[in-house]
């Protein structure tokens, strides 16, 4: 499934327990299904991310629930 990042933001004043500098976003698949995601980045790469980039979404298990992670196809 190909996902498109339809918007994103780098959070510098985070919600605990996160540390500043993570990127959140909304991703949409080919069927127009939308998911709240975190965007996988190696470091602060805001300049390399843009609205409309394609990628895949993987699910990371957490102690409570799971995290949707958008992995850009750079």
């Amino acid at each position: 499934m190909v996902w498109t990042l339809i918007s994103y933001s780098e959070i510098q004043v985070p919600l605990p327990p996160f540390e500043p500098g993570y990127v959140v976003g909304l991703a949409e698949d080919e069927n127009k299904r939308r998911l709240i995601v975190q965007v996988e980045i190696e470091k602060t790469l805001d300049a390399n991310i843009s609205v409309g980039i394609k990628g895949k979404v993987k699910t990371v298990k957490l102690p409570k629930g799971s995290l949707n992670v958008f992995v850009p196809s750079f």
Partner: protein
């Protein structure tokens, strides 16, 4: 039977010493003084308040009775940042039903007693669990809307900066405003990132404060004031909680629908509005609401701002009080403070921030990232 506003009260917004109970009671007493009434003349009260987490205090209705040393009916109302508008809507229904003649609506929030990190968490409770789990703050939600608006309509960070600059300028003439500080586009653009592309000066501050208005029917208004302000239309709309559940990020359907209903009820159009208080919790929120209320087409908000049409002397002055951005944003008080400002404007009592010949005013109060919207229209 028409619903009228006969009196208003407004504490200073900012970092205040008083606790939530004292703040609420003082504002209420100011309202009674403004109307030359005693508590016994009030049939019922509605209290707008977002979260008991800030002050570790629930049951504000009984707290108000204690603060006023008087037993009377009051009810707390909550729809996040739209609590004030919703309390106003409930009060207007009670007046229109004929059950009550005179109702006080008081909005209050005491926020500055918590550290920013904790406040950020409390505010996030107005969003969805999945948003919180992914670390999306409230600035983050509006940042997602801003980024998409930039992409779809060519809006820029400078366009948003002009909104903050205008609202800070207006607040210079508002003695109750949180900020009395002039800022420039460069100040906004150079302020630190909170959630890109939104920066510190794109965001409303964390404030304490209270505001109150007195609603009554037309008969009571004749007794209580020489200058009644009429509520010609009010509408509330409730959307889905999460941004991922909406069809688009660049519009808030609750605002669009509440505006349409309020305009239909009042018999006026956006072109007839002389002054508006919009819910600028973030600069992008004011821009989206300018478009969603119908002051211009979608995407054209930036031109309206660039032309100065939303300035105090412009075609449609927006947020003469300074808005949430500079007047301050004690969440539960905000929707009530908007109405207090519009009443002052329509009565010609807004001093140096007075909009010339204001006859029709509009308030747009938004909860969460657009999950609730209350739009009210007033005339003199």
């Amino acid at each position: 039977m028409k619903t009228c506003i006969a009196a208003t009260a407004h504490t200073r917004f900012g970092k205040l010493e008083e606790g939530i109970g004292d703040l609420m009671a003082r504002c209420y007493q100011d309202l009674l003084r403004d109307a030359s009434l005693d508590i016994g003349d009030i049939d019922a009260s509605y209290i707008a308040n977002f979260s008991s987490h800030f002050s570790s205090q629930c049951h504000l209705s009984a707290l108000l009775s204690s603060g006023l040393h008087s037993r009377h009916e009051s009810t707390r109302v909550e729809t996040a940042c739209a609590s004030g508008g919703t309390a106003l809507k409930q009060a207007s229904i009670a007046i229109a039903s004929g059950l009550y003649d005179v109702i006080a609506v008081v909005g209050v929030e005491k926020m500055t007693i918590r550290p920013t990190e904790e406040t950020t968490s409390i505010l996030s409770y107005a969003g969805s669990e999945i948003e919180r789990r992914h670390g999306i703050t409230f600035p983050g939600l509006f940042a997602l809307m801003a980024r998409r608006h930039f992409h779809d309509y060519g809006t820029s960070e400078t366009d948003l900066a002009k909104i903050a600059v205008k609202n800070h300028k207006n607040a210079l003439s508002n003695p109750n405003a949180h900020f009395h500080k002039s800022i420039t586009d460069d100040d906004v653009l150079g302020s630190r990132i909170i959630a890109s592309p939104l920066k510190l000066l794109d965001c409303a501050p964390i404030s304490d404060g209270a505001a109150a208005v007195l609603l009554c029917n037309e008969n009571a208004a004749r007794r209580l004031t020489d200058i009644p302000v009429y509520m010609s239309g009010i509408a509330q709309e409730t959307d889905y909680l999460g941004l991922d559940e909406r069809e688009a990020l660049t519009t808030m359907p609750a605002v669009v629908n509440a505006s349409t209903k309020a305009f239909n009820a009042s018999g006026v159009t956006p072109r007839d509005v002389d002054v508006a208080e919009l819910h600028d919790c973030f600069t992008i929120a004011e821009l989206i609401e300018i478009e969603d209320v119908g002051f211009c087409s979608k995407g054209a908000g930036k031109e309206l701002i660039a032309e100065g049409a939303t300035n105090l002397d412009g075609e449609i002055p927006i947020n003469p009080s300074g808005g949430l951005k500079a007047r301050g944003h004690p969440v539960g008080a905000t929707g009530v403070a908007q109405v207090a400002e519009i009443v002052k404007q329509l009565r010609g009592e807004a001093d140096r921030r007075q909009v010339t010949d204001a006859e029709i005013g509009l308030c747009c109060n938004v909860g969460g990232s657009g999950g609730t919207a209350v739009v009210s229209i007033f005339s003199r």
